[in-house]
Symmetry: C2
Subunit: 435 residues, 2 copies
Amino acid sequence: MSSSPPSEDPALVRLVTSLAESARAAALTLATCGTAPKNRALAAIARLLTESTAEILAGNATDVAAARERGLAAAQIDRLTLTAPRLEALARSVEQVAALPDPVGEELAVWTRPNGLRLRKVRVPIGVIGIIYESRPNVTIDCAVLCLKSGNAAILRGGSESFHTNRALAGVIARGLAEAGLPAEAVQLIPTTDRAALNTLLKLDHLVQCLIPRGGESLIRFVVENSRIPVIKHYNGICSVYLDAQADAGLAESITVNAKVSRPGVCNAAEQLIVHADAAPALLPRVAGALAAKGVELCCDPRALALLAAKPGIRAEQLRAATPADFHTEFLGLVIAVRIVDSLEEAIATINRDGSGHTDVIVTSDEAAARRFQAAVDSSVVGWNASTRFNDGFEFGFGAEIGISTDRLHARGPMGLPELCSYKYLMDGAGQVRG
Amino acid sequence: MSSSPPSEDPALVRLVTSLAESARAAALTLATCGTAPKNRALAAIARLLTESTAEILAGNATDVAAARERGLAAAQIDRLTLTAPRLEALARSVEQVAALPDPVGEELAVWTRPNGLRLRKVRVPIGVIGIIYESRPNVTIDCAVLCLKSGNAAILRGGSESFHTNRALAGVIARGLAEAGLPAEAVQLIPTTDRAALNTLLKLDHLVQCLIPRGGESLIRFVVENSRIPVIKHYNGICSVYLDAQADAGLAESITVNAKVSRPGVCNAAEQLIVHADAAPALLPRVAGALAAKGVELCCDPRALALLAAKPGIRAEQLRAATPADFHTEFLGLVIAVRIVDSLEEAIATINRDGSGHTDVIVTSDEAAARRFQAAVDSSVVGWNASTRFNDGFEFGFGAEIGISTDRLHARGPMGLPELCSYKYLMDGAGQVRG
């Protein structure tokens, strides 16, 4: 994406500003409406997704035809395509969100001061959340539904590839809100993919409290660079598996293979394998062989390369010397960088220097080493004897996930419904004044 | 402040980048060093503040002389000036922070998944925090000490007016860190007030995790507009006192007067008085008279003006018709805007439209009205029968305060030590892989 916003179009500025003003009004209604109307709206949206299959698939067919005409890659077209079973699955996921506890209103702390003031810290919605995303139309439903359940108004700005699909889905959401007696402005799709509309949205820091970009790093950077509104970011995952001196060979193999190959295109897949020098001669050929058997290419530092050269089970084209860039790359495919370190401390320093603070795991039978690793590695999830792939809202039991934050502020790691909330303090007095 | 950064100076870029790199290394040490060395460093800093009085006051005298030469206002010179008693008070405040519980390491949640994975959410420091502030040199000690206690490395960028004072204070902090065996790079002062150094710091989003500007709105906006690093903001406080239909006259008077006049220059002082029409004829003349007796100027809407015109106790020059801007102004002085509304709902809508989401209170003996007001007013602290002035970390019992956040993300309202922290998840397995 270009980082120089086009000049402003007054009509678009008015349109987007007015949309955000009505979102702010709807957010104030949602914040105090209680759980029941939100759940009624979610149930209606789930039902309408099924009932409106024909209308949604017609919109989607328009987008898919345009995508084919523009020569989009098959994988992109697949991500764009909705089918009746996919809509059915989407409807079930909406019902699952309806069944989750309402995070709003929970008392997070209650205390009384010596002067008699009673303070309660209660969870409240953030307010108006702008969701900026690319081609996957299921994001329209996922994000709208998670924002709604957590009492936030959502402004959705989808990509041009899924414009007609998003319009149909937004229509379903609006009808669901209306059935439940909630303002239709609680979830609004920006009715144009003109970049100037996005630039206007990014400037409305008096109306929009939070931005969540869903997409690649260039989209996230564009949003962060062009807005003063706080952004919840999920940058890339350069995740490591570290095999310690005392690693069990069976666990080392199964965890490394699962972390790398179970779904290589996602952010919690492993991109780096780090092995303690004492364990490498025994462990690395076995683990590397298992990776190679799954088709993984190994980019090795000199010591790892020497241990693996001419090993049976690893084809020559699967083994190469690593470049410096390999140790900072999110491959998102069947490639892994391999390094040997001389100590636990070197492994920790390597991860803190070259990783992305997403997910890192140690495989070891030495509990002291595991605890040191967990304390010192500065990442959102630091695991011991488990796959990196568990950094996920559903795997954590949150029942939902809007993303995995690589920020330190507000939320870190998998974000569920409570992470879509803020809090405020209610202060009850009996006439207290400050001396 | 200008919003167009000057062009970059390569030597300054190297200097500030290297400083931030060493801060990052120090942050990783602080994150796992435990409570004892941090408290030893704080005790040493408190002692050294007293022992180094002559050196600090000499630096301060240089700054004060320069300020006088530049013709700074008396109030600004007073804020800049340190004295032996002020240093003594600063040393005591450092000891108070040392006595507070360490927020780092607290387990915020522990649970086990059906697959046996054990998850712990633990509080950890944010990392490297950049503090950008203006002339008050006590901010150097306050912020350094709060960051240190919460395990964060601090990069301090003070104003040019207090440059020599800050250098002396930073020397004290460095000696205190060294005495405790902690890296001196845990707290660093940028050794120049060249604007280009600040601009470099604002760009280092791979090394600095959070920025806290301490100062006026123009400083905060400059930081937010010129950095991708998350910023914890405390914009202005346009706080309201709302006197409901059922307000007790005595409480209405004492709370309004305290909220307005006890310290008019701070962000939790009231700027707006809103009165229910049913109560206004009985209440407003009494409350306005009490404000006028304290020298407050009343900017009134037409109905309030009619009720107050020619009332004894209010001098003609204390009463005027409000301009539209008066209802959006942080006066920070003995001025208050006065409006009459016809309902509780109109009061709520007025505050949510014109306030700044900081602190708003209702005075009423009607509990249902109070609960509705607290639920619907979208502010960090919403009070019932208490002064707005209690929105403060010390008044809340936090024992410390780095600011009052008007953001919705991360922290809202008074920020103590836990609000200077992030969290991470520790995941313990026995070889779990994802299906």
